[in-house]
Amino acid sequence: MAKKKTPEINSSSTADIAFLLLCYFLMTTTMGDQSGLQRRLPPIPDKNQKVEDQKVNRRNIVIVRINSADKLFAGNEAMDIVFLKEKMKEFLANPNNDPNLPEKEEKEIEGKTYMVSKGVISLQNDRGTSYQAYIAVQNELVKAVNELRDEFSMREFGRRFSVLTEDQQNIVKKAVPQNISEAEPKDTGKKK
């Protein structure tokens, strides 16, 4: 009989407790906003090592420069940022095998040979360039590469890059490399 007489714990206050906890997490929460443009910096060249002839063939490199007034120059001509993407896509893809645009080399990736562009985009900036302009240009460059990758995936696999399997993505990444080099600051440094 004693068993029956154990009083029930009043559970109506669990809601209050949960509300309290809920409020706490609501206040302290910051939704994950960790996104951005990922890059790999080039390693510092060894001082003892002779600077090897790093001269890339002229046609393989395009210099994108942003000056201290946030004006954009691509390949020595002033350009508006809205045209940059198309220009870069043309440069990297070189659809008509123009001798002034980057050469391509045959590369074997996973048993198939692809024509891989040797083009490099060299991004230079001034110390006075605003970060906003810099990121805007970086974004356009990434977008150009991403669109080329999408086109390549459609041709090869019939699907967009983002829905490919990881192996397929790796193939596409190798076939359409993201060659964006951020120049050494000494090139653009303090000289006015």
Partner: protein
Amino acid sequence: MSKFGGSNSKKDVPGISSGSLSDIVFMLLFFFMVTTQLRETENKVIVKLPEATEAAKLERKDLSANINIGTPVRHLQAMYGTDARIQLNDSFKTIDDIRDFIAAERDAMSEAERSLMTVNLRVDEDVRMGIVSDVKQELRRCSALKIMYASRKPGKE
């Protein structure tokens, strides 16, 4: 007992059971607990990230080291001025402190994961590139080569 407006219909309306209320609240609670990430450090600089449509999510959030660059927040401007400053962890630092900071972050990670460390550059959009270039050079010297320019998708605050 008419269905509508009967004299004693008031008495017949059953009370809404509040027993499931706690379940609902708990569900909400778990949602926020899972999505939450507690702010580890107090922001001492104002960082308004630039917009980028191609921004990709960082895969391993726990393997990132944050470097904030921007103007000091309002109440610290009297002391530190309005020039862009670097914030590591909880205080203002200079370029030379980055080496120690990176070393400390590396030590906190397990051996296998050190090579995967990403330095998350959270830079205000109005900052000039000079200070960012200096930081990048210093990172290269510390051979912390994986970096990310933090940015937000357009339309998000």
